[in-house]
Symmetry: C2
Subunit: 294 residues, 2 copies
């Protein structure tokens, strides 16, 4: 089966599990408009990369997707909140996301800030209240706080904001930002899936390393797409990064250099899967993420 | 001992426990400026009402303050993040907080949003990683997510934002907003302390009811202070609520009516303590909060 066909088969199998529960916590409540704002961004679609990788990580170590489902939901809540906050005028100032108006354009800045806060809080709520083994629950919660917090995603976003005014900005600094901003949550997705699926310590370490490598690949490909794609392809403003003079992998390495770095990161990811019992799906995702057109 | 003397004795005893650990998670990290922004707001002082009540709740049911310390830290991180986000231009748009420039005036709006996100995330991190009984840990995390989330504090903040444009706005709606915006986290502070201190279910319920009552009292007193105090008293702009035509307890009930409601809420809080073994400190706090001058 091709990588794309394997990915599609996994999506067909796993997305219904996610979609059945994703907006459930945000349906009935006194703050109805805030609930609507949170559902708006959750229902905007997107690739659901992080929760799907979480579910596949559980399967890769011999567990089930059902065991990792609370973690998968938590990861999508974190990712969605981060997009809402990143799109705010004080941050990236984006009007479009996935081809639709961004949350603050529809609900106002105040509600967009609060919708992000509510999703972030519920990410921990869903893990705290799910029927989970207590040791695995605590590990998953700790991993989520570390990957999403100021030593992970939030810290990367801060460094990225500061980077726009930095005079010196080299490849090491770009890697640091992406390791935190994008890489930390992807890596955490794999680790949480591993923990909830009952991974042995060395399996968790392998999935962590796989997650770091595909996190790097994902960001390089994102930069390549931004440099080469059109607005219709991306569903958001294209060439935005270059337009504001932002440093990217193509701007530092050239387009060919960036493509080489992408291949290397993908190979590294595949190597780390070698010892896992059920690795075919995660291998297909590594190849698919490097080839994706948007 | 007078209520004020009892409160001071508890503060002298418990604040050092908190202060020794409060900024520890935010000291060393790659996003140094973000860490500084988080510490800036944590170190702005404030009354530490929520964490102190959490520690006292643990003691009130026969547990120790040390058992509840991770919960107390988590509550102060949540409270501090909520102040940072509330002060943003898209929300209450405040330049001063506790007599100092607000977070976004010092670090910029982007970093203030991220500092809030980082503190919110660490609140769950400190509970996830502390050495706690697994059942109590899960209960405390679930209580925190509920009290701080869109069915609690964040939802109240959204309703408060929407309220500024509402035509009809009565006492019931004001109570709903405050039950969520201020009350939920105060109530949660008591419940988390109860759970981590090993409370029996009926003790937890009593402390929840006490927390709801002092939450109401706290908000009424806040409104009374805003209507009567000067800027120097409060360390923030005084008369702000009335100035923008915001509905408050004094504006709905008159100043005397608001003072009566405050006394009633305080009496209710004291009644709920009747069955607890060590209730003198929490009783003193209920009286103190109703009398406080700022």
């Amino acid at each position: 089966m091709s990588a794309a066909a394997q990915v599609q088969a996994d999506l067909d199998r796993l997305l219904p599990l996610l979609d059945a529960l994703l907006t459930t916590p945000f349906r009935e409540g006194e703050a109805a408009r805030l609930g609507e704002a949170m559902r708006y961004s959750l229902e905007a679609g997107g690739k659901r990369v992080r929760p799907i990788l979480c579910l596949l990580a559980a399967e890769a170590v011999g567990g089930t997707a059902a065991q990792a489902l609370p973690g998968a939901l938590a990861l999508e809540y974190i990712h969605t909140y981060s997009l809402i906050h990143d799109d705010l005028p004080a941050m990236d100032d984006d009007d479009l996301r996935r081809g639709r108006p961004t949350n603050h354009k529809v609900y106002g800045e105040g509600h967009a800030i609060l919708a992000g806060d509510g999703l972030l809080t519920e990410a921990f709520g869903v893990l705290a209240t799910a029927d989970l083994d207590p040791v695995r629950r605590a590990q998953a919660l700790a991993l989520l706080a570390e990957g999403a917090g100021w030593r992970g995603m939030v810290g990367g976003q801060a460094l990225d904001l500061e980077g726009e005014t930095l005079a010196a900005y080299d490849l090491d600094h770009l890697r640091l930002i992406h390791r935190l901003k994008t890489g930390a949550l992807l890596r955490t997705s794999l680790e949480i899936g591993a923990v909830l699926g009952g991974a042995a310590p060395e399996e968790q370490a392998a999935l962590r390393a796989y997650g770091e490598a595909i996190g790097l690949a994902f960001q390089i490909q994102d930069d390549i797409l931004d440099a080469t794609a059109t607005e219709a392809d991306l569903g958001k403003r294209a060439g935005k990064d270059a337009g504001r003079g932002k440093i990217t992998y193509p701007s530092l390495l050239g387009l060919d250099g960036a493509r080489n770095a992408l291949s290397e990161a993908t190979e590294t990811a595949l190597c780390h899967l070698a010892s896992l019992p059920n690795r075919s799906s995660l291998a297909a995702w590594a190849r698919y993420l490097a080839q994706r057109a948007k």
